[in-house]
Amino acid sequence: MRIKRWLGVLLAMLLLASLSLAACGDDDDDGGNGGGDTAADTGSSEAIASNPDNEGKRIVVGSKNFTEQKVLGEIFAQALAAAGYDVDKQLNLGDEKTALKALEGGDIDAYPEYTGTALGSFFGVKSNEIPKDPQQAYDDAKAGFAEKSLTALPPTPFTSSNEVALTKDRADELGVEKISDLDGESQDLTLYGSPECRQRQDCLLGLQDVYGLDFEKFTPVDIALRHKVLTDGQADLSIVFTTDPQIKREGFVLLEDDKGMFPPYNSTFVVRDDTLQEAGPDLEKVIAQVEPGLTNEVMQELNARVDLDKKTPEQVATEYLRESGLIE
């Protein structure tokens, strides 16, 4: 009877395995194809020098809960560690409000935020009032953070914007190219977005206020599922990020933001003032060394390495730093 019970478990495992094998795709796990590979210049790259003065200075680096954030968090954490700091990671905290709370509360010392997100979610700026100029947006965000005793370091070149996406087939069916094309049709369409999208001016609220769109249903899903809901046919529309590798791969259509609702989203590393003081000049220096290489192209590539090649954010961050000559 005992043996039978064990057999039962084994049977179940075999069942599970065979079920999965039945859904097996190609066994080819070679990521890229030969032609079309390019290399992106990351500018002059001095290797990050380890400064013994930084030993014993502890920095806790956090991040929000999607791929790009985890990669950025890892990059900054590893770069700071290379400079000799004592770095702890608290990645994958949650959405922007959760991250800010952790930062203000001292659970983390720094995390990468986006200028547009900060202005819209933290400082209550209406999405069509956020400056379209990335530099201006950064300056405004920096001012806002300063009031909270937080310093927003200079931003990355890349901007990762929220966008409304649909599958090519659906876009052709509906005949839409711009977001305002949805006017009149949106009440029959379902929109899927992250849970925090419901509360954000640069997301659902903006679409309602700026474009005057009413959707049949808004369903909150985990950020990781934002593409799956489109490919599975669950969603008519989904909110994605412009640096998502899946857009190119699946051929999604991004609707043009003709009313300029979506703000710039350059990433800025936000640090607590006290941590910045204690850390000394190297912190800013390291971040300034790391950021220039993060262009739109590069960020998309790094995201692809995690989402498509299934490498861990940690691995990908190390690869970026190595390929850029920032670490050995």
């Binding site: 009877m1 039978k4 019970r5 057999l7 039962g8 478990v9 049977l11 179940a12 999965s20 859904a23 949650g94 959405d95 922007e96 409000k97 959760t98 209550g124 899927y192 849970p195 925090e196 419901r198 509360q199 954000r200 001016q201 609220l205 369903t219 909150p220 899903v221 985990d222 599922l225 799956k228 809901v229 599975d232 669950q234």
Partner: protein, 259 residues
């Protein structure tokens, strides 16, 4: 907070955070962004939660009870019926849901399927065991007076197995309600949303949702417990009473924990 509520509000406020949470459940509030959370919106979430649980349980019962009765009556598949329960206990609900999301995608239907799978083992096993525990002499006697096999199952074995079956239903129901809390991970918005994605609702909202889910679970447990006692034939009840008088403890047997 509405001053017009007067004494009730003050009493609740005294309970501090809990008071805030309970107020949230009944009144709701408007967030800084201008959206309504809590109050009637909570009703929607609760309804989704209950709907998901009830549908899953209904399907699970419809499948497991007849199957368990049949298997038990014919004394077949004992190994399967019992092992099912053991395996079921070993599979974490998150793993099951993740498996369904990865293979079938998000949505109410897919999630219900996962919950049905979760709910079947206890009911199936208990139905099986319930039938096999019926005194064979009783069954023979029933055959003797000319009942068909089907009638025996319906009129003799089922009533006697009912208490155990209800026990299984009780276990599954609480398990399903608890698992429905992580339904937002699969795209179905239940009371788990304020708990997992608290940002919009705030800490008050999170606490409020936790209270409501806990209340739902406890309520279901009590309700089905009462139902279970109600269907227990007098004879067996007396037996248990005698047992407790002899000093033996009667703690309900549940083989699954809530997720």
């Amino acid at each position: 907070m509405d001053e017009g509520e007067g004494d009730m509000t003050t009493t609740f406020a005294v309970l501090g955070q809990f008071g805030d949470a309970i107020q949230f459940i009944f009144e709701g509030e408007t967030t800084r962004e201008g959206t309504e959370v809590g109050g009637s919106q909570f009703l929607e979430l609760t309804w989704e939660h209950v709907k998901l649980s009830v549908v899953a349980m209904a399907i699970a019962c419809a499948v497991s009870v007849p199957l368990g009765l049949w298997l038990g009556h014919h004394r077949r598949g004992q190994f399967l019926a019992i092992s099912f329960s053991n395996i079921g206990r070993a599979v974490p609900s998150l793993a099951l849901i993740a498996f369904f999301v990865a293979y079938l995608g998000v949505g109410f239907t897919n999630l219900t399927l996962a919950l049905v799978l979760l709910a079947i083992p206890p009911i199936l096993t208990n139905a099986y065991v319930g039938v096999t525990q019926v005194n064979p002499d009783t069954v023979d006697a029933a055959r003797g007076i000319g009942m068909t096999e089907g009638e025996i199952v319906r009129k003799v074995e089922l009533p006697l197995a009912l208490p155990l079956i209800f026990g299984g239903i009780r276990t599954s129901a609480v398990n399903v309600i608890a698992t429905a809390t992580i339904a937002p991970l699969a795209g179905v918005n239940t009371l788990g949303d304020p708990i997992i994605n608290a940002s919009g609702y705030g800490d008050t909202g999170r606490l409020a949702a936790a209270i409501v889910v806990a209340a739902l679970a406890v309520f279901t447990e009590l309700l089905l417990g009462t139902a279970q006692r109600a269907v227990t034939p007098e004879g067996i009840k007396l037996d248990s009473d005698q047992a407790s008088r002899r000093g033996r403890i009667q703690i309900p047997i549940r083989r699954h924990a809530s997720t």
